[in-house]
């Protein structure tokens, strides 16, 4: 059979399967990411179905997926929101980083991994999944809750921290010497700061360059600009993902809102390809031996994430029940952890990292949204009331 024909059949069949999986996930109200990962594990090398012709397509598609995931993330925040969050919640952000990156780093050291893998695992356990958590908060009707701004600002802080973390990781992955590595990191950080400054001060100029009246021209303009900047960022070792994120932040106002609408379906398509590709490039046989370590890591970092979220809510003056809601809602890790693992694995760091990250993300992304529901249960509310010593309400309002 012709190569292209085979590719069409493979990609088409897989996308149809993903569509069914996505429907199942939304039916039961959870994220489709774990199912996409499992689908990826099932195919490709070591899986049940070998997919040869489309491997290259998935590889390129997954890179576009990462770029679009981060552009959309950037588009969702304005530069002003980032700065005001930085002022308001830097302590909670630092606590979140220390409490959740350290356990990952220590775990990797315990396993005897090399420094690059240590930094990668620290990132994987640190960052919560903005996508999954935003969906959980919305689904549970908690947008009006007083603790929700605290949850969202921690997500913003993590995303902003990633703009500095990813270039450092990519410099390490390249495996430059100590001096050259420090130099690369310095350049990377300078470039990030420069782009952030331009986004803050002159974001309107960039937005004005893009045509907001013509949907087709705007879509091509934004995707083109993002891929160009991502490529250039990669060239100076800043990582394509960060370049894309910064372009997203730099675009503001009505152009940002319109671009977000145009890019969302594209992002959904390529992000799914990205998760599948991560599954494809991980051999399912390697997952079994890391199941126990992954479970241990998941339990530890779910606990530390709950604690750091609890403390952040306490700092914001939220009562006990709301602190638990904050902590437990923040536990799922997702797209960013996979992005980090993908970046490290692509360069051939620590063979155990990919299966461990896959198992870890699968566990937290399934457990997290379930844990987030606990504070709504009757026994939990009763426990909190008893612990805080307040009497039960006299007249219960009809629900």
């Amino acid at each position: 059979m012709h190569e292209t024909t085979q590719l069409l059949i493979e990609v088409g069949a897989l996308l149809l399967v993903l569509s069914v999986l996505g429907r199942i996930a939304s039916r039961f109200g959870f994220s489709a990411i774990p199912l996409y990962l499992l689908a990826g594990l099932a195919i490709g090398e070591g899986g049940f179905l070998p997919f040869d012709a489309s491997e290259e397509f998935f590889e390129v598609g997954s890179q576009i997926g990462v770029i679009l995931l981060l552009t959309m993330l950037g588009l969702e925040y304005s530069a002003e929101e980032l700065v005001s969050n930085l002022k308001k919640s830097r302590i909670s952000g630092i606590l979140d980083g220390v409490f959740n990156a350290l356990p990952g780093a220590l775990f990797a050291i315990l396993l005897g991994w090399e420094p690059t893998a240590v930094v990668a695992l620290a990132g994987i356990t640190w960052v919560s999944s903005s996508g999954v958590i935003a969906k959980v908060v919305r689904d549970l009707g908690r947008l009006g809750n007083r603790e929700t701004p605290t949850i969202l600002s921690i997500l913003v802080m993590e995303d902003l921290a990633m703009a500095f973390y990813l270039p450092v990781l990519s410099a390490l992955v390249i495996g430059a010497g100590l001096l050259q590595g420090a130099f690369t990191v310095a350049i990377a950080v300078a470039v990030v700061l420069l782009i952030l400054y331009v986004a803050l001060r002159h974001g309107r100029v960039l937005s004005r360059l893009l045509p907001d009246k013509n949907a087709e021209a705007l879509l091509l303009g934004v995707v083109g600009l993002t891929m160009l900047v991502a490529g250039l960022a990669e060239r100076v070792s800043v990582s394509a993902a960060v370049g894309a994120f910064l372009v997203g932040i730099a675009i503001s106002g009505p152009v940002a809102r319109q671009s977000a609408q145009l890019i969302t379906p594209l992002r959904d398509l390529f992000a799914a390809v990205f998760f599948v590709f991560f599954g494809i490039s991980t051999a399912p046989g390697d997952i079994v031996p890391v199941l126990l370590p992954a479970a241990a890591l998941a339990v530890i970092t779910i606990a530390t994430k709950t604690l750091s979220g609890y403390l952040a809510a306490k700092r914001a003056g939220i009562a006990t029940a709301g602190r638990w809601r904050t902590g437990l809602a923040l536990t799922p890790r997702g797209e960013f952890s996979i992005v980090i693992a993908g970046l490290a694995v692509g360069a051939g760091v620590e063979p155990m990292l990919a299966p461990l990250a896959a198992a870890y993300v699968l566990m937290t992304i399934v457990a997290g949204p379930l844990l987030a529901r606990i504070p709504d249960s009757k026994w939990f509310k009763a426990r909190v009331r008893k612990a805080s010593g307040t009497p039960p309400p006299l007249a219960t309002a009809p629900a």
Partner: protein, 164 residues
């Protein structure tokens, strides 16, 4: 006057406006960037969470705003209605694509045909009291009329059926 409104940013989602009532209750209006909005109510049991959160469509939000806005006028009118035996007032919204939209009120000949009187028109957050025959109807207008039961029923039919 002097109602306290707190504005809170929800990064990635939109903004939340809290109205704190005199009795200490909190009503939140969450405006999402996608254009949707939620209405959330304070939970006496756990002040950080909301007891109920309701998603409203554009039309539903507009309808609630209209009811709240025009209830002031109506509560004054209802006092009148109770005083005078046999006289009723009614609020009739003009259907969106009604044939009366864009025509002056005189064209409807409401009083001649039904003997009910149009005493006010609620338009968005404004109320036009005692409109003259030259006032032109707009889409979304709510007509406030006074008359006998029979007259108001006839007016309702006239407004809903449009010009013959």
């Amino acid at each position: 006057m002097g109602v306290r409104i707190e504005r809170i940013d929800l990064p990635g989602f939109g903004i939340r406006n809290d109205v704190i009532t005199k009795s200490g209750c909190r009503v939140s209006v969450v405006s999402l960037r996608s254009g949707e909005r939620d209405l959330a109510f304070f939970n006496a049991d756990d002040p950080d969470s909301n007891a109920a959160s309701i998603s409203l469509s554009d039309d539903e939000a507009a309808a609630i705003a209209e009811v709240l806005g025009s209830s002031l006028t109506l509560s004054r009118l209802s006092v009148l209605g109770e005083k005078v035996e046999g006289l009723f007032f009614e609020e009739i919204s003009l259907p969106g694509g009604s044939g009366f939209v864009g025509h002056p009120m005189g064209y409807m000949k409401a009083r001649t045909l039904t003997s009910a009187s149009i005493v006010a028109i609620a338009r968005g957050s404004d109320v036009l009291p005692s409109p003259g025959p030259e006032v032109v109807f707009e889409s979304g207008d709510v007509i406030v009329a006074v008359g006998t039961r029979k007259g108001l029923d006839a007016l309702g039919k006239l407004i809903n059926n449009g010009p013959s």
